[in-house]
Amino acid sequence: MARKNASSPFRSKLFYIPLIISIIAIILSVYNVAHPQQVVIYKTVIQNQTGGTTTQLTGYNITSPLITPPTSLASAPVITANQSFGQRLTGINQPFNASELAAINNAPDAYYELAGEMYLNHTLNNSVGAQPNVVPLFNVNGKPSVIYFGSITCIFCGENRWAMALALAKFGSFNSLYTGYSALGDSDVPTIYWRPASYNTSTTDLGAFYTSKYVNFLAIENTEPITGGFALQPMSTILQEVTAVNNTAYTAAMNYIIQINNFQGTPYTIWGNYQVGGADAVAFGNSTPKTSQLPLEYMTHQDMFNQLRQGTSQLALTEYAGADVYIAYTCKSINNTASICSLPAIQKIEAQQ
């Protein structure tokens, strides 16, 4: 009787299905360990994308105005209440004042140099670096572009925008930036918003207040309610939302990301000829946190500005080093025509590529 039960088809199925799932899961684990694409490394490697559609990509030469976003949103007002960490949205969508803006726009070259050298000689505590793919230029109005695709709710977008802003500020300047946070459910880290964010609704915000004679900056930011966790709409939905705005450059930029065909999450950036998946630095404190308690989560924007102004902490230097990597990609894409490209550390990082 027992043997009959043991060999019944019902028992066999129930036994082998989880076994097969286990084998698949273990194969996935091994695959992940063998292809640690998003584990940040200490060297910069340029990979030529092979296969897929990437090799068939052609550059863009577009003539189009860029988007000038609104300076405030009635549906997403500035929150003035002083809230506690973990539930903090204090000052969200507040424009940076002149001093805060200067911390980004006028950061000293010496900090970039110091951080770059530390990155090169591996004396930074945090991980910095990326594995970019080489892509054709996306030219708008005769200039190459930096394209950013992210989400306001995303923690890595949040920490990475500091490095991005520091990098972009060396090729032009921001007329406005805004106080931002990652989602309350995704660590609530203080960050920069490129423009006032639709933090109460699910939509896509476009544009930034940035001018440069070297590059364009196209910012595509998916938004979800900031009080929730990280969420990202499907790319097809975001494409519809971008297309609905009817701006040639932004629609083409979104289509370009889709054509590159390697999107795996946010942040997703293109720096001239270099496409970077994910953040290029892990900057949540003075060292990589061992627990889910992130020092950055317990910092105010003023704390962050102070650290950037001093340029001595590992956190600040990690942000500058992350900026250096982006600067090197951009310099190489614009034939080193910007003055920041002459910094020795930038040239050394470029030489690694």
């Binding site: 009787m1 027992a2 043991a6 129930l14 036994f15 989880p18 076994l19 799932i21 286990s22 084998i23 698949i24 899961a25 273990i26 996935l28 695959y31 992940n32 360990v33 292809h35 640690p36 694409q37 998003q38 584990v39 940040v40 559609t53 991980s127 989400s151 995303c154 923690i155 890595f156 977008c157 459910g185 995704d186 966790g229 990280f230 969420a231 990202l232 499907p234 790319m235 097809s236 990301i257 889709i258 590159i260 065909n261 390697n262 999107f263 795996q264 999450g265 946010t266 942040p267 998946g277 994910g278 953040a279 892990v282 949540f284 990589t288 946190p289 061992k290 627990t291 889910s292 992130l294």
Partner: protein, 172 residues
């Protein structure tokens, strides 16, 4: 009612042995650190949990109980030269896939994303899948816990049946 008593009795019998308590604790620790490793490896080395902690602990505990039942089933089968009873494979699967799903809900999902591209999906499909998983990771983890509980029940039934049959074999 009698069958229920037998199943509870099976659990009491297994956990009255210190060896199986140790196996259970070791399995729970192993699964917890496996979960942490897989999640951190998808998040730049940082353990960022986007689901409530109780879901993680429930998954780890239920998986470890399932593994312990599996260990008992294998030992019993070895001793009686019968077929192994237990779903120890499933306990690993639910933990590993659970960790992968949790990683999917952060900004980056290199694990699932890489795999989806490897099997030929394009960006639009990959982003839709990642978005879907990210938006429903809590129900998915809860479903894994339910699967574990169902398999614990199933394993207990099988072990109870084996216990009833074993004396007859010895008589024969």
């Amino acid at each position: 009612m009698k069958r229920q008593t037998n199943k509870l009795g099976v659990l009491r019998m297994i956990y009255s042995s210190p060896a199986y308590v140790v196996v259970n604790i070791a399995a729970a620790a192993f699964y917890y650190f496996l979960f942490r490793y897989l999640l951190a490896s998808q998040n730049y080395g940082i353990f960022l949990l986007n689901v409530p902690h109780y879901l993680l602990y429930s998954l780890v505990i239920s998986s470890s109980v399932l593994l312990t039942l599996g260990a008992y089933g294998i030992k019993s089968a070895f001793e009686s030269r019968g077929k192994a009873v237990g779903e120890q494979g499933a306990s690993a699967a639910t933990t590993i896939v659970g960790a992968v799903i949790s990683g999917c809900a952060s900004c980056q999902a290199p694990f699932v994303g890489s795999l989806l591209y490897a099997v030929g999906f394009n960006t639009l499909t990959v982003s839709s899948i990642l978005s879907g998983i990210g938006g429903s990771q809590e129900p998915i983890l809860a479903a894994f816990i339910v699967i574990n509980l169902a398999l614990i029940y199933y394993s207990t039934v099988k072990i109870a049946e084996g216990c009833r049959v074993a004396p007859r074999r010895r008589k024969g």
